[in-house]
Subunit: 243 residues, 2 copies
DNA sequence: TCAAAAGTGTTCGGCCTACACCCATGC
DNA sequence: GCATGGGTGTAGGCCGAACACTTTTGA
């Protein structure tokens, strides 16, 4: 804390020379949803750098001198999955002095929502990256377990208010799958009839004429997210508000 | 974005040596509420460093090598207001390459809620800092106007769900003042009868036997925030949920 | 006695909850 | 024809929105 006995004017003439450079990294909690397994997952890989090389870690990178943190987060996401223009959100910063035993590194936590079906499997495999169920995350490097926990909380909060869940599903999806997804994210049981009513009454889901027969004989209608209608709703102050 | 033609293994063995040091700063959007004026305010001061010296700016500082970002944000808050252990929340990071014309600086945006009545006025004045109404913020340095806007949005979201408003009021406050505060934060009109019902029915406000007669002849009861009862409620999943 | 702010109560409608049954189809 | 998952409908209650009147007291 500042000492009042010091000369205040001097104190307060902070210049760029007072800034001590620090390493800045991003760590990206990449969420995916496996529609067959109906499980919410996080992409992890084995850290290559000492200390703690070989341990499981979030996908991260240093922020380069000529890129924004957001760009860095997108860059590594593309590098590992082949996907571009992905849903990406900053959720927290980690700056404890001793957090990284290798150096003074501040890390900006981002989370991403991707469609697992669109990722490039060869790429993911080439980095020895693996998808883990959110409830079966192994011990991670540094404070990455904390990051996953924080990201999940924010994801839960966000998905209660905005329909971001669609970023985790294929373009065409069924209501039962969507229900399963929300149950996975929020880790609660939802009444299927009430869920269907709520989600369809808002009007931003278009029913298609095709059915998905992969998980039942009757088949479930495919739906598609309608961005235009959704934006209309937001303007009028629409809120999902799931339990 | 990464080039797939490059050797993936090499790419992926990122080491600490690849990290290029960057200046890291915090900027603190310090909110206060003047109970007399009934206005939500932000503390600003005139920047001392070129470029843009003399222009109004948020209270900020570089993050030192031996402190966390949160500590730095608290440190400058204490330096300017004399207050310690203040409500402080990280809300966004700013890392565009060209954002600060003076150097490559990443800034972590924090917002604070303080009780104006507890601040040390001499300190504030000694730094030529001034309180501005949120709807009358002047042109600020760099991207600080954006920061204020972002912080206000997050504050609105947060205060709809958690009763953080109390951090802006004196220990003892009246319901009419609390109502005014919420109207200022949310920038909406609220029905006083419904507001009173909602806020009192939750049970985390204790009515005192004294009245505030400063703004009416009848006088309004003072209330006090009851932290214990509030924590009880949270455990059971309580949500404020104001409009 | 009256102006000005504080405090209380009621009605209405809508939305959320809980819950049960029919539908389509592949085997 | 039956098992399996998909889809629809309804009744009840609670909560939030809208709204009007009484209370207190200093001037």
């Amino acid at each position: 804390m500042s000492e009042n006995s010091e000369n205040k004017v001097a104190q307060h003439n902070e210049t760029y020379k007072d800034g001590k450079p620090i390493l800045v990294a991003v760590d990206n909690v990449i969420f995916g949803f496996d529609p067959e397994e109906e499980k919410l997952k996080v992409l992890l890989f084995q850290r290559q750098v000492e200390p703690q090389a070989g341990n499981w870690s979030l996908i991260g990178s240093f922020v380069g001198p000529d890129e924004s943190a957001e760009f860095a987060a997108q860059r590594i996401l593309t590098k590992f999955t082949g996907l571009k223009d992905v849903y990406l959100e900053h959720f927290q910063s980690y700056s404890e002095v001793e957090r990284d035993p290798g150096a003074r590194v501040i890390s900006l936590g981002y989370y991403s929502l991707i469609r697992i079906d669109e990722q490039k499997d060869e790429l993911v495999k080439s980095f020895n990256a693996k998808w883990f169920n959110v409830d079966e995350i192994p011990d991670l490097v540094i404070d990455h377990n904390q990051m996953v926990e924080d990201a999940l909380h924010i994801l839960q909060d966000d998905s209660r208010r905005k329909p971001i869940g669609f970023n985790l599903l294929p373009e065409k999806f069924t209501i039962p799958k969507l229900l399963k997804l929300y149950q996975e994210i929020l880790q609660v049981e939802l009444d299927d009839r009430n869920f269907r009513k709520k989600i369809l009454s808002a009007g931003y889901l278009d029913r298609l004429d095709i059915k998905d027969k992969s998980s039942s004989k009757k088949g479930a209608y495919f739906y598609q997210f309608n961005v235009e209608k959704y934006f209309e709703l937001i303007q009028n102050g629409y809120n999902l508000l799931l339990p």
